[in-house]
């Protein structure tokens, strides 16, 4: 029908004739020539707005409208936008001015659909349409539900409605605030014909259930002041503030902020444009929803549907529960109380939401670090345990080594002490007997006593030597004749050597320079090397066990000691490592001896090494720097 009207109007020429023709032929033609859907509507939309585009309302609606136009069709129509400015410019001849302006402006522009946001000025809009674009279908972008019922619309005008009732807002407040007793209306005075005129009809119902504190129609300053002293069981419903009694104008969205900030109770609003400005939010009308639905209806018509076939229905998309998270927090309102499907805005992103990747990365890093640290701790602990164990074993071995050495030496010590002791006892008895005779032999007795003195001195010597050997003072260095040291050790080991049937050849060079050394330590080295040699030869045939101890001077003027054995010698592998602790070729023993020996020699500025002997066995040699003569 719309299409036919449209085609008709293009065929017929002048404007005045159109209305008549529309009335006379409209239905008849439509009924007879329906199949001739000759030409599609021009793909263009004229968007008529009643308000000033500076309002957020219009901005949100037109943005949604454009977005829908662009996204919901493959062939987006061209959109013309006109602001009628009826409120601001409604002078007597304003309609004529608009008409002549638009007639010239759109002389060469075909309009497919008119979308009107000016539902309050519906007659004005329809008059304009009939004058300039007769027969062009009109989409009314959002009509308040109750108002729509009262409208008597021409058949080529369609649209959609939305609920806008005070009880919805109050019900939302009631649901969110348990114990709500009072409803505070804040805003400009609500008037018949105004945007919220239906609220006036809702009021008796509200009063039946709540005490209504009506703060509309005050000056803005007084309103703000009153809002600060609201009772605890109240909620504020902001009904828009544009002009106060003093004639001052306000942008309703801006005014909502002042209201919500002044109020000592939560403020509920009815428009999405007010959300985010201090109010809790509420069941709000979404201008974006209106724009989107309007675009969808307009596109349907452009795509061939007849406006008459699109019933004016309520759009659920427009009235939506939207809340400000910050205000919910401020008033301690639990999200559980919000209506199903509520949109919560301005939620402070949680640290997780805000720093998702960073937290993930840090967590991963932390986990890795923890693992690493745990690993290191574990390793450290293991190492520590190993160290403790090693230390304990070292101590044990050192003790065993010492015990073994003491054991070895003790036989020699006992022998060395017992010799003079035996002589002393013997001589003492002898002396006593000579004196006890009838004719005491004083000469013999005194000889025996002299011998005792000698033996006593000898025993003292042994004790001195022992004391020196057990003295631990490492810095106790003195000039030592290396040959004396060798002789002392060999004396101590004499029994050991005999017991093992070792033939000992000692070749000490006379007149060697003295060395500055700790005598005891030096003797320990020699003792150890000789003991090793004896043990090394335990598997050698009895007649072939030969120990050769040699002293001498090197070309560079050092004192040299060599201890040779005729044992099995040392294999190449052991040779490389035998000065390391715990490396031993012996079945018994701990392998500490040589490492200690080397440490001692090196502490004295010397060197200790080993080489193979010919035809078999090993030669341990060490050199020590000589003291200046």
């Amino acid at each position: 029908m719309v299409i036919l009207e449209r085609s008709f109007s293009t065929v017929s020429g002048s404007a005045p004739g159109r209305i008549v023709m529309q009335i006379i032929f409209g239905l008849a033609v439509a009924l007879t020539i329906v199949p001739a859907r000759a030409e599609p509507l021009p793909r263009s939309i004229l968007f008529l707005d009643e308000d000033t585009p500076i309002y957020p309302w219009f901005r949100q609606m037109s943005e949604a409208f454009y977005a829908t136009i662009q996204t919901e069709t493959k062939n987006p129509p061209f959109v013309f936008v006109e602001n009628l400015g009826i409120d601001a410019y409604a002078t007597a001849d304003y309609f004529n001015i608009l008409c002549s302006h638009f007639r010239r402006k759109y002389a060469n522009r075909a309009i497919g659909v008119i979308v009107s946001n000016a539902s309050r000025y519906l007659p004005y809009t329809l008059r304009l349409r009939d004058e300039l674009w007769p027969g062009t279908p009109v989409v009314l972008a959002g009509i308040q539900e109750r108002r729509a019922a009262r409208l008597n619309l021409p058949s080529n005008v369609t649209g959609f409605t939305f609920r806008h009732q005070l009880q919805d807002i109050v019900a939302t407040a009631d649901a969110l605030l348990p114990g709500l007793r009072r409803v505070v209306l804040a805003g400009s005075r609500m008037e018949r014909g105004g945007w919220r005129q239906d609220f006036l009809d809702d009021l008796p119902d509200i009063r039946a259930r709540f005490e209504v504190i009506d703060l509309t129609g005050l000056s803005f300053a007084e309103l703000q002041q009153r809002l600060t002293k609201l009772p605890a069981d109240s909620a504020v419903v902001y009904v828009g503030f544009s002009t106060d009694v003093t004639g001052e104008h306000y942008l309703p969205a801006e005014a909502s902020r002042f209201v919500a900030e002044a109020a000592n109770r939560p403020t509920f609003v009815d428009s999405e444009t007010f959300v985010g400005a201090g109010s809790v939010g509420g069941l709000v009308i979404s201008p974006g929803g209106i724009g989107r639905v309007a675009a969808q209806v307009a596109l349907r018509i452009l795509d061939g549907e007849k406006a008459a076939d699109i019933p004016i229905a309520n759009s659920e998309e427009i009235l939506r529960p939207v809340f400000d998270w910050r205000q919910l927090q401020r008033w301690g309102i639990s999200e559980n109380r919000l209506p199903v499907g509520s949109e919560i805005r301005f939620r402070s992103p949680t640290a997780w939401e805000q720093y998702h990747w960073q937290i993930m990365l840090i967590s991963v890093a932390l986990v890795l670090q923890s693992v690493l640290i745990a690993g290191l701790f574990y390793e450290h602990r293991r190492r520590r345990q190993a160290e403790v164990e090693a230390t304990r074993r070292m101590a044990e071995l050192a003790h065993m080594n010492r015990s073994a050495a003491i054991g070895q030496m003790s036989a020699s010590i006992v022998h060395e002490i017992n010799q003079p002791l035996g002589a002393i006892v013997m001589n003492a008895g002898t002396g006593l007997r000579w004196l006890a005779k009838d004719a005491p032999n004083v000469e013999k007795a005194s000889q025996a006593l002299k011998n005792i003195v000698g033996d006593g001195n000898r025993a003292t010597q042994v004790v001195e030597t022992l004391r020196a050997m057990f003295k631990k003072d490492a810095s106790n260095r003195a000039l030592v004749d290396i040959n004396d040291a060798i002789a002392a050790v060999l004396t101590l080991l004499r029994i050991e050597l005999e017991g093992h049937e070792v033939l000992t050849k000692v070749s000490l060079k006379d007149g060697l320079p003295l060395v500055m050394a700790d005598r005891v330590q030096l003797q320990q080295v020699i003792f150890n090397l000789v003991t090793n040699a004896i043990e090394a030869m335990s598997s050698t045939k009895a007649g072939a066990r030969m120990l050769r101890v040699t002293s001498g001077a090197t070309e560079t003027g050092e004192c040299m000691v060599a201890i040779e054995d005729t044992g099995p010698g040392i294999d190449a592998e052991t040779l490389k490592r035998m000065f390391e602790p715990f490396i031993t070729s012996k079945n018994k023993g701990m392998g500490m001896g040589l490492s200690i020996c080397r440490s001692i020699v090196e502490a004295h500025g010397g060197r200790l090494w080993v080489a193979g002997n010919t035809p078999s066995g090993a030669v341990f040699q060490f050199v020590l720097p000589c003291a200046a003569p």
């Binding site: 036989a411 017992n418 035996g422 002589a423 013997m426 002898t430 000898r458 029994i495 005999e498």
Partner: protein
């Protein structure tokens, strides 16, 4: 006894050997000292000895070697072994070798003479 018993003391430790010889002579024994078994065998023209007191450990021939040698040559002269060592079980070894006894230094001269009297009376 027709004559005073003659005893050979073999010990490489000079001072003890001298002391023992002196002690024995103070007790009325004839005693001669030798620094080693080898010296003993080389002899000093005296002898034969009624008893041999010998150190166990000596350079060259040991006390045990000496005893073995004596046994091998059917010499029944009693042997008393002495030692300055603490080595255990030497007594048993000495007994096994056929020695009269083993005395550990230090000991009183009377310990020797007690043994000697028993040995020489038999």
């Amino acid at each position: 006894m027709s004559r005073e018993p003659l005893i050979a003391v073999i010990d490489d430790d000079d001072s003890f050997r001298v002391a023992l010889v002196e002690a024995l002579s103070s007790l009325g024994y004839g005693a001669h000292g030798f620094a080693s078994a080898e010296h003993f065998f080389a002899g000093d023209g005296t002898g034969p000895y009624d008893c041999i007191i010998t150190d166990v450990h000596m350079p060259g021939m040991s006390g045990f070697d000496l005893k073995r040698w004596l046994l091998a040559h059917d010499a029944g002269v009693p042997v008393i072994m002495i030692t300055a060592d603490a080595e255990p079980e030497l007594e048993a070894k000495a007994a096994a070798a056929g020695a009269v006894c083993l005395l550990r230094k230090p000991f009183q001269a009377e310990a020797v003479t007690d043994r000697l009297e028993r040995v020489l009376k038999v």
